[in-house]
């Protein structure tokens, strides 16, 4: 789960990381009032959960409260890569002497959190990594000892932070790691971390991603979720504890198991179709779950056919079939339904579905072909 810049920075501040003392505005008038209170030049920053807002005109300097109001007026309501701006952050403008990148993320391959820094601050770190990887410094963090002071000295040295700022830099890096631990973050970054005209360090921009698996023990962070960056159907699916991702195709997929769901999408594509979604309905086959999932799939107007691919393991296929039939009864879809059941009692299951006039198949290939045909002739 992504956090907004302002959410990230306010969270950083709880761990004693210095941030600009800004506030959030949802109207131009609020922007004026905040800029007036700050009393100097401010930056008006669109809060959207997508990168590249600067280039899109979503970040503007304002020298007076009037200018701040005008900039907020222009930015609020703006469409940035398909997302509408509903909030702007009004930060006091910092005099930037130097800027670096500082981030902490999970290094899957090393099974460690890793501290990443670069003298190239304020730009997209993935681009730096791709074009000038030598400008990036990485250091793994021992999960039992945490960040050690000497590591931050070493990094500071290598990204060009002067000795006078090493103590601050240590506090900030340590604060960021404490924040990662306390927030179950899989990414926390300060970009840029700025050396100001006063000679101190300041976290001017921030970003955090929270581990979805940890949201139940992070209720305060979970409550900050902004669903504006995801399709409504995904929000609804998550609330129903279903794993659903909307795609651009025309064949809805309902599968039990994440790996099998991906494989199903792949096979649909292999036979010339395009999947409309990823959907894992999980174990068991309660009619209620199937019905909710079906509603979510059908809420996408592009869907021209629905493919069920179910492996009956410990749950028997005939039971799954009954669940599907009960769900169809409830939802009453008007697109073709193709079902492929495999595993225990698969024959009985298929017969039940065939009786209900569903198109049934024995193999995944066959099912995918049938679904593609059905979608094309719809």
């Amino acid at each position: 789960m992504k956090l907004h810049e302002y959410q990230s920075k306010f969270r950083f501040a709880e761990f004693d990381i210095p941030i600009p003392q800004g506030k959030i505005a949802t109207t131009p008038e609020q922007a004026y009032a905040i800029a007036d209170e700050i009393g100097g030049p401010v930056v008006v920053k669109a809060q959207v959960l997508v990168g590249g807002r600067g280039k899109a005109g979503g970040v503007k300097l304002a020298k007076t409260p009037d200018e701040a109001m005008q900039q907020a007026q222009a930015i609020l309501g703006m469409d940035i890569k398909g997302l509408e701006v509903t909030k702007v952050l009004i930060d006091p403008a910092a005099e930037i002497v130097d800027e670096v990148y500082l981030g902490i993320t999970t290094d899957r391959a090393a099974r460690r959190t890793v501290l990443i820094a670069s003298g190239e601050g304020g730009v997209d770190i993935e681009e730096v990594a791709a074009t000038t990887p030598e400008k990036i410094v990485k250091m793994h963090i021992d999960p039992f000892l945490g960040i050690r002071r000497y590591q931050t000295h070493d990094i500071a040295n290598r990204v060009g932070i002067h000795r006078e700022n090493w103590k601050e830099f240590y506090q900030i890096a340590k604060g960021l790691y404490d924040c990662v631990l306390a927030s179950d973050a899989t990414l926390a970054e300060i970009n840029p971390l700025v050396l100001t005209g006063e000679g101190t360090l300041l976290a001017v921009d921030g970003k955090m991603v929270i581990d979805d698996n940890a949201l139940n023990r992070q209720p305060e962070l979970a409550a900050q979720r902004d669903t504006s960056d995801e399709p409504e159907a995904e929000t609804k699916a998550r609330e129903s504890h279903l794993s659903y991702i909307k795609l651009d195709g025309e064949i809805g997929c309902m599968v039990n198991g994440a790996g099998l769901a991906m494989a199903t999408m792949d096979v649909v594509k292999l036979y010339g179709g395009t999947p409309a979604n990823f959907l894992d309905i999980g174990g068991g086959a309660k009619a209620e779950t199937v019905a909710t999932a079906l509603e979510i799939i059908l809420s996408d107007p592009n869907v021209k056919a629905v493919l069920f691919n179910i492996f009956g393991g410990i749950t028997r296929c005939d039971e799954v079939a009954k669940g599907i039939l009960a769900a169809l009864e409830e939802v009453k879809p008007d697109v073709p339904m193709i079902a492929r059941l495999v595993g225990t009692n698969e024959k009985e299951g298929r017969e039940l579905l065939a009786e209900a006039k569903m198109i049934t198949a024995e193999t995944l290939s066959e099912a995918a072909k049938l679904a593609v045909q059905a979608a094309q002739s719809a």
Partner: protein, 285 residues
């Protein structure tokens, strides 16, 4: 012969009195797995079917000589259950639990590495050595003894492949679900090494998916160490980048972890990669 679990496995079930734990204990016992005990703190002295329940893993190990533990406890308590098993001298731990936060797993894995304890999972279907031991939630009846080692990051996709093999009369030595989390206990490389050294395994089926670089590491390992034929399938060719496809680990991030990269890496070292899972039996020698 087989890998990891067999007739000599003396299994305890952590979380045995829970809904999942008691159901699957019954299933494992029915399959013939030697389930010697279970653990639920405060329920010591009770029974689940014919399986005695203990308060702690240590007590269970002392009473039963258990050498393997399977964990069905909820995600919030799973890390603690793994530590308890490791501290009690269990050398092989299988964690079925889904949804353990990654920071917990980083610590768990570091701790187990220090102790020399093997963990399979979490977020996995467990292990199945057909005819000998079922340690997990795989449907036992779809498998049959034979020469194919199966290793997978997935659940039902594995069942699908195992079922397809069995229907074609091709049996399995051991089926290993390593789980779909970004940081886990046992990797493809670990299992490939075990299969390579296992006399009962003649060929290997490896089922990967998008996210991370475990398949790429496996490809390097295959080139260096594996003499047995390997057939693979990689799920997620159509998965969009930046989206988590059900499994916590199934995500393409920063251009890393695409199905294309994995397939290319595997094919480059001579692994046959199937276009769809049903093709796998055809690609075996």
């Amino acid at each position: 012969m087989a890998i990891l679990v067999d007739k000599n496995t003396r299994l305890i079930v952590q979380g045995i009195t829970g809904r999942e734990g008691s159901f699957h204990t019954e299933q494992m016992v029915a399959y013939g797995t030697n389930v010697v005990g279970g653990v639920t703190p405060g329920r010591g002295g009770e029974w689940v079917g014919k399986v005695p329940v203990f308060d702690t893993v240590r007590a269970a190990v002392e009473a039963t000589g258990a050498n393997c533990s399977i964990i069905y406890v909820p995600s919030h308590f799973a890390a603690d259950a793994i530590y308890e098993a490791a501290d009690s001298g269990i050398p092989l731990i299988i964690a079925i639990t889904e949804g353990i936060p990654v920071l917990d797993m980083i610590r768990v894995r570091a701790y187990l590495d220090q102790k020399g304890v093997r963990l399979v999972g979490p977020n996995c279907p467990g292990l199945l050595t057909p005819g000998e031991a079922k340690v997990g939630i795989m449907p036992g009846h779809i498998a049959t003894p034979g020469p194919i080692g199966v290793v997978s990051r997935s659940g039902t996709l594995t069942y699908e492949v195992v079922d397809a093999l069995t229907r074609r009369g091709i049996g399995q030595s051991t089926c290993v679900g390593i789980g779909g989390d970004p940081v886990n206990g046992t990797s493809f490389v670990d299992v490939l090494g075990l299969f390579e050294d296992d006399a009962a395994t003649e060929q290997i089926v490896m089922i990967g998916e998008i996210g991370g670089t475990d398949e790429e590491k496996a490809a390097r390992f295959i080139a260096e160490r594996v003499t047995k034929p390997v057939v693979s399938f990689i799920a997620g060719r159509t998965a969009p980048p930046g989206k988590r496809m059900g499994h916590a680990g199934a995500i393409v991030e920063g251009g890393v972890g695409t199905a294309e990269d994995k397939i290319a890496a595997l094919e480059a070292v001579g692994v046959k990669v199937a276009d769809h899972p049903e093709q796998i039996p055809d690609l075996l020698v």
